[in-house]
Symmetry: C2
Subunit: 353 residues, 2 copies
């Protein structure tokens, strides 16, 4: 449950400019040297490489995140408050963004694109993703009255469909017929890979449970798509500034969550009560995958993010075979096959322009 | 087990010319009236209708076949010998073919295309499908030393892949990349729909079991594709003549199977010992689905046949909900979704000519 709660936050995380800069220098050592270091200056090939790199990073970080959860569960019960962990992740991401900005200011000076201050017109959309996640996380407490944890894991795959639909509606980007088919397959494949003997419980989910699951999927999808819209609205805007503001509001809304849910525990036992080495690792891992999510949003899109996290889910299971001697089920092999075909179809099904 | 054994025979069954004639008259009441009643005279639209009709017929007959099995199992154990039932099916199909031919001869006279006699050059390929099925059915007895019945059901889905591969190699017909992807999905989807808590046993299948399953899938796929090649080699040849010879050899090879497996039982208890009303229904149903398979081979192809029988499998489960109050699993819904997407992809993925 802790994992799921933290995981919901991953879509609003920060990127360090260090990473972007080093990537640009690495892949375009000469051609772009005289240009200001902004995204539009990247060549097509470099763009493709950057996109691949951030996607790979997101996949590996998301996968290692899940492995940390399993590891921590094996190490024994951990008893920290999840809301403070979420807040710490947001704060860490804010710190990353600021550190990267300070470096940039020292190097390039303060420009219109990398200055921290924003007009009200620009900043007024930034609280929305964080607010949506807060609502979704609060709803999460109520849905467990209707479904059990394994069923909830299954229902979470509705996120894939909601992201696709909202991506189409809000960002007005087209997916081809084949890509839609691929997206349905991705959802079916991920669910198949997660099947276990108790999965059928989900079919007994009562109507309010279904409604809440759908609303939560829509909230999560909307937050993701909206974040992409904010980040892409002004492509020349430095991503660290955009992240800074996203995460400032993330901190504020997580503070509200602490007050609502864990006020007594924090007051009595302290903010960092129950934190272990592994908790700190998890917070850092979340902040790092935040960097990756943010970069995927800037240089790719929500569709790539969904594919990336789906592959991460499969990767986690394979790695767990070696780390924790997990057994892979037939359903897992079938699901992996379906997800692989989905990725193939998505790539060959690009809409003609 | 009885079902599976009988089912293996379905690919070499007979069509009644009555059905083809009535179809032609129904769909092309005027335009083709002055032409001889042969397939090439059918218009494009009529051709499409005929193809759809036979595909639908095959789907419904295959599905009702499976329902008869469940029904008969519920009605109590039946104790007839499966080899004699297979022989009866072949004999019934032969009778259908002959009856249809007699009608045609009375109407149109004996022509080069509808005469019963064949040159050795033409007839020498006709025993091959029946021989392949015999080998496959004999192998079936040995594979159960390595896998249990539910695992065998899962492994049977390898037929889908082997049919696709052999269709490409032997008939040299091209499938587009999307259609190949669709075919892999069909296999994965059918397997997913059949998943149950004991399906994972299949992963413990020892190496000889896998080898035998693959050989059996290849034999079955080869027999199907080879039958199509025989039937399509001379398109103007009346299908009842083609079927007559296919089923004559079917009878001969099934006679061998009776001698090998059930000689004592037949000698002591009689040929039709243990036959009940439901056994007779099943034999008739098999003969009728034989008509449908044969027509699908003539007017469509093995790919359509595979899709048709896969949909029949899903249809059986849905009908069983109402007839026998079966419960559909989440895996079934996922599998059905994947099969549906596969059908869609197959239809939009036609190779460009």
């Amino acid at each position: 449950m802790d994992y799921r709660k933290i995981k919901g936050e991953e879509d609003s995380m920060s990127a360090s400019q260090d990473d972007i800069e080093s990537l640009q220098e690495k892949h375009n050592p000469n051609s772009d040297a005289h240009l200001p270091r902004s995204v539009p200056s990247l060549g097509k090939r470099s763009d493709w490489r950057l996109k691949s790199f951030v996607t790979l990073a997101l996949t590996i970080l998301t996968s290692s995140q899940a492995i940390l959860i399993v590891w921590s569960k094996r190490a024994g019960k951990y008893d920290y408050s999840v809301t403070t962990a979420n807040f710490s992740v947001e704060a860490l991401k804010c710190a990353f963004s600021l550190a990267a900005l300070v470096r940039i200011w020292k190097k390039d000076g303060v420009t219109e694109d990398n200055k921290l201050s924003m007009s009200f017109d620009e900043v007024n959309v930034y609280p929305i993703p964080a607010a949506l996640y807060l609502i979704k996380n609060l709803l999460q407490y109520y849905i467990f009255a209707y479904v059990d944890a394994p069923a909830y894991q299954i229902l979470k795959n509705l996120n894939i469909i909601s992201t696709g639909v909202l991506y189409r509606i809000i960002l007005k980007k087209k997916l081809s017929e084949i890509q839609w088919a691929a997206f349905i397959l991705l959802c079916a494949g991920c669910t198949t890979a997660q099947l276990n003997p108790s999965s059928d419980h989900v079919l007994q989910t009562p109507f309010p449970g279904w409604m809440m699951a759908i609303v939560m999927a829509l909230l999560s999808g909307f937050a993701g798509v909206y974040t992409e819209a904010i980040i892409k609205k002004r492509p020349s805007r430095n991503i660290n500034v955009q992240n800074f503001w996203l995460y400032v509001f993330g901190m504020i809304f997580n503070l509200i969550a602490i007050c609502v849910q864990d006020y007594d525990a924090v007051m009595n036992k302290g903010f960092f009560h129950g934190y272990s080495f592994i908790t700190v690792c998890m917070v850092f891992n979340h902040a790092l995958s935040g960097i990756a999510v943010s970069m995927v949003m800037k240089y790719a899109d929500n569709i790539v993010k969904v594919y990336s996290t789906s592959v991460a889910m499969l990767l986690t299971a394979v790695v767990s075979v070696f780390l924790f001697s997990f057994h892979l089920s037939l359903a897992f092999f079938l699901g992996s096959t379906i997800v692989s075909v989905s990725i193939y179809l998505h790539s060959i099904g690009k809409p003609q322009r």
